[in-house]
Symmetry: C2
Subunit: 275 residues, 2 copies
Amino acid sequence: MAGTNSSIKLDLAPAPVVILCEPQLGENIGTAIRAMANFGLWELRLVNPREGWPNEKANAASTKAEHVISRVQVFEKLEDAIEDLSLVFATTARKRDMFKPVIGPDVAGNRMNAHIKKDQKTGLLFGRERWGLNNDEVALCDAIVTLPVEPAFASLNIAQAVLILAYEWRRASKADEDLPFGSNEGLPADKGDIVRMFEHLEGSLDKAGFFTVEEKRPSMVQNLRAMLTRTNFNQQELRTFRGVISALERAHEREWKNRDGQKKRATKSTDMGKS
Amino acid sequence: MAGTNSSIKLDLAPAPVVILCEPQLGENIGTAIRAMANFGLWELRLVNPREGWPNEKANAASTKAEHVISRVQVFEKLEDAIEDLSLVFATTARKRDMFKPVIGPDVAGNRMNAHIKKDQKTGLLFGRERWGLNNDEVALCDAIVTLPVEPAFASLNIAQAVLILAYEWRRASKADEDLPFGSNEGLPADKGDIVRMFEHLEGSLDKAGFFTVEEKRPSMVQNLRAMLTRTNFNQQELRTFRGVISALERAHEREWKNRDGQKKRATKSTDMGKS
């Protein structure tokens, strides 16, 4: 889904901080950065990255998310990395032997959004690629976030987990705003024009002998009107559809005019009108 | 987030079909397959994959999602790939010059779930890596799904888009079920035991001279009780906390017994009791 518009200025609005605890590979840091940037997160903190920092592989994998890369902070202790945050969720795929609330990404997104709207800082903690977070790290957090993965195929990499949590925060924070683009709806057609189209169509069908059983005409008209109302015509589409009816009407007339001549072609047009 | 349990049997329950239209790189097909498998999708259809099929790079990138790989179907025409589906969403990051509803992934997830629950087949269509879907391909679909990405950093790869849509379907389909694991809550403590703990604590604080201004005692007790009620103790935790109170109580007693001896240590314990 290509769609980046590099002419748009980046908006570093308040957003959750991402904390990666002892990430092992620079490439994973880079893909996590890209996932953050996709959904408007920009503050990354690393606790003891194994390959050190800065990291060339992380840069390459982050696909030019310079606004995130240039702000990365490195800490020796997790406690220091979350010092200024007042709500931190630990992401983990494993059940823990402690009483800690467990929530889904959607609930996490909503809670982070509510927290940030009160000018509070919130963070998402992700563990090591190979064995995740230790219990003493989880104990520092307010809740565990886990993803509704298929149990038999549950292995997500860090960037995927970051992507879904970042997406859920973005969804929650933009819930009262439009999507990046909306339906290209045009101007809706007025009911009067819709009714005139119905009458045009039904008159045309009368002439074509479509209503073979007169008693069934009212219910057939109702069904046709119900069906065509669901299409939710805009003004241009309604004009187009009136043109379609007229064209088929003329084709029908042509059938009678040319009945001795182009029989085969006319029959085909009439079939189209009834289909 | 490691967590795959290979001893769990895969459940090929009804799920949305993924259609990739003219995918260019096998690796992207593989990572899309992995994302599908993470959230329980298993039916992939390829329309004219540029590198052909089967594809070694796709196999490698799919991290052993054999149950998806072995069922991949290849089509020459998109029309044939969606022949048996009755609800298809086109994923795209670009506004189209046609009247087509535009929805977010959460709405798409809910609609796909409702459709599948009525035993109907539904599909998610993704376009080429470099330029997405053509308008005539979008026109075949029921709605456009777009993601609430940061406009200045909007480039998602196919696997990321598949991951989020697959996640949203899974979330919707499992909305009335538990997460993969729940809170390890233990048995909740009865209110009677909670009240006895409060009385124990407050009696202990009385003895320790915590309530220096008698008139303020009721409101201080209220605040303490409110605060400790929020911890939502389970039975084991309540027992532990009673033990904490008793231990601090004895430390306090010890202060008086040893007032000439270990003054420093006892003072420290009393501070803990008040903190």
